[in-house]
């Protein structure tokens, strides 16, 4: 079967199996863990019951969460998904995410998942670079894991940017996958002072191919994207955010114009490839 979100039969080895389970389902999930993992960030682990098998979520896809008492669902990227265990990393910024932060293990959430057209791990090549800013680091984890599973020899570079030391997320987890991780902090309190996109400069400098990586994947705030656009020499893709009505392609609330016509961030995205994006 061809996955409608990817549009072609991907072939990345056994984990994740990209060829099935791409149709969104409405599922009940039970929170098994919900705690601060860094300043301003929480990790929520959920047991997803029924419907989805073990390996049917693609990197860069997201879930849309019904929050008790609020009307619209809240989109959160899949940080990891293994055998019915869903991991989210999120930052409380408003009513919905603050409500999530107050929830306890044992409480239930109603999810639509998996949603969206995620990253294309098949494009990684031998030396991909993954660039994450803040919560944007989260979806890169499942991406790195997927790339590694498909090609254990891939040399993955991960550039992570945060405001300060206390906010640093997922560094150990990326290292455990064998990735080459550099952390940037705006205030220099940890790792290298500066922004994640700065890491592209060091990759490029003296690189044999003058590009320094085979492909890039980016998720984070718009200023980070603009910095990457200014620095990146090779091809890659970006994961966007937009206010959503439905999250599964029905309302046209999230459309962005691209060189290939309009794209719904929720369904045709959130990941768009560098070549199609119109930076206004």
């Amino acid at each position: 079967m061809t996955c409608p979100q990817i549009g072609k039969k991907a072939n990345l080895g056994p984990v994740p199996k990209l060829e099935k389970g791409c149709v969104m389902k409405k599922l009940d999930a039970i929170i098994t863990e919900n705690k601060e993992v860094a300043k301003n960030y929480l990790k929520m682990v959920l047991e997803v019951s029924g419907g989805l098998g073990g390996e049917e979520v693609l990197p860069g896809q997201f879930v849309n969460i019904e929050i008790p008492g609020l009307y619209l669902r809240r989109p959160i990227s899949v940080c990891n998904y293994e055998a019915g265990k869903l991991t989210l990393v999120y930052k409380p910024v408003g009513s919905g995410t603050e409500h999530m932060a107050g929830m306890k293990p044992g409480e239930k959430l109603d999810l639509l998942m998996p949603l969206g057209h995620g990253f294309d791990p098949a494009k990684a090549g031998e030396r991909p670079v993954l660039i994450g800013g803040g919560a944007g680091s989260a979806p890169l984890y499942l991406l790195a894991r997927t790339i590694k599973a498909a090609n254990p020899k891939a040399q993955i570079t991960v550039l992570l940017g945060f405001n300060e030391k206390a906010e640093v997320l997922l560094e150990a987890e990326f290292r455990a996958l064998g990735a080459d991780v550099t952390v940037y902090t705006v205030d220099g309190s940890y790792g290298t002072k500066g922004f994640a996109a700065d890491g592209l400069d060091s990759l490029t400098q003296g690189a044999a191919d003058a590009v320094g990586y085979t492909y890039f994947y980016a998720c984070g705030p718009m200023p980070m994207f603009r910095a990457i656009e200014a620095k990146a020499k090779g091809d890659g893709e970006y994961s966007f955010e937009e206010r959503m009505g439905c999250g599964f392609g029905a309302c046209m609330g999230c459309s962005h114009k691209t060189k290939n016509g309009y794209k719904r961030i929720c369904k045709d995205g959130p990941v768009l490839s560098r070549g199609e994006i119109l930076w206004d």
Binding site: G245, C251, M252, C254, Y262
Partner: protein
């Protein structure tokens, strides 16, 4: 006790309880619907996308995305703002244009939907409406035309056609001239007197009225201190508008003789029944589809239970029952 029993009252009571909740069919402008539940325009795409979630033939019918003569991208983003009991949208009629709908969208729909569909049409001038309807007219798949007159009238000063009885009648008459299909005019609630507009449409030849479209609303982002919606304002929909929608359905059903399609905030089988008691012949469900893609399927399957709870045997008989 047999069907032919002579103990009339007792028998008919027993019969009622045997049939309660079973008869959900209604007739909308001469076309029979299995049930009155219709996903509203703009919340159900061109339908086939939802066919991957459930068999959409369980629906009465559905109203497809507002279609204009030319393709439209719509408004800049953000186009969505949350409210306590609903949302504001300013999608701005993004659609591929009438020709693409006929040549691409409807053939895809035909594969998964065997019923007549309701075609929702928008425009910014009388000519827009007429040309679009002409393009759609030949399509057998289309059972009803639903003419959305909530768009600003670009040749008439920017007020929506639907806020002026004369403009509303003019559009109705013009479209009436080019279609033999049942013609339903969809009204905006942003008016002082909704009955005046509805009556003008009826006199101009409409076969039905649907209401309400969205209410003009706004939210401001406390962080940026700017309107959330890029276009400042947008259309408010969802459960928060239900009391206003129900009132307008009640008023219009009293004012006109043609059938009324009720919508605005409907999200349960109970809401469907309440709209029908107010005078709706069929009921549309919009925003609810966005937060629960299975909303319409769930309402259809819950309808018999809700009917039994309210002691309703034949749904069609309760239309307008709350009218004095």
């Amino acid at each position: 006790m047999t069907e032919k029993s002579t103990a009339k009252t007792k028998d008919s009571k027993a019969k009622a309880s045997r049939t309660e909740g079973k008869n959900t069919a209604v007739t909308l402008c001469g076309i029979r619907l299995d049930n009155p539940v219709i996903p509203a325009s703009g919340t159900f795409g061109y339908g086939y996308e939802f066919a991957q979630y459930y068999d959409i033939n369980c629906l009465g019918t559905f109203s497809f995305k507002g279609t204009t003569l030319e393709p439209r991208f719509g408004n800049p983003t953000p186009r969505i703002a949350e409210c306590q009991s609903g949302l504001i949208n300013s999608v701005g009629l993004q659609n591929p244009g009438a020709h693409a709908v006929v040549s691409e969208e409807l053939p895809k729909l035909a594969k998964v939907f065997k019923k007549k569909v309701m075609a929702n049409v928008s425009g910014f001038s009388k000519e827009d409406y007429v040309e679009t309807v002409k393009i759609l007219e030949a399509t057998e798949q289309i059972g009803w035309l639903e003419i959305n007159i909530s768009c600003p009238n670009v040749h008439g000063g920017g007020m929506a056609f639907g806020t002026d009885p004369k403009a509303a009648a003019e559009i109705t008459k013009a479209v009436r001239g080019v279609t033999k299909k049942p013609l339903i005019i969809k009204l905006t609630p942003n008016v002082t007197d909704i009955t005046e507009i509805a009556k003008a449409c009826e006199e101009a030849g409409a076969d039905g009225i649907s209401l309400i479209n969205t209410m003009l609303g706004m939210r401001i982002d406390l962080k940026t201190k700017r309107p959330v919606i890029a276009n400042t304002m947008g259309g408010y929909s969802g459960p928060g508008v239900f009391p206003v929608a129900l009132r307008m359905v009640y008023q219009v059903a009293r004012a006109v003789k043609i059938p009324v399609v009720g919508l605005g905030g409907v999200s349960s089988a109970e809401n469907v029944i309440e709209m029908m008691l107010a005078g709706a012949t069929a009921v549309q469900v919009g925003s609810a589809n966005l937060v629960n893609p299975y909303a319409c399927r769930d309402i259809v399957s819950d309808l018999p239970r809700a009917m039994r709870k309210c002691g309703i045997g034949t749904l069609e008989k309760i239309i307008g029952a709350a009218q004095l």
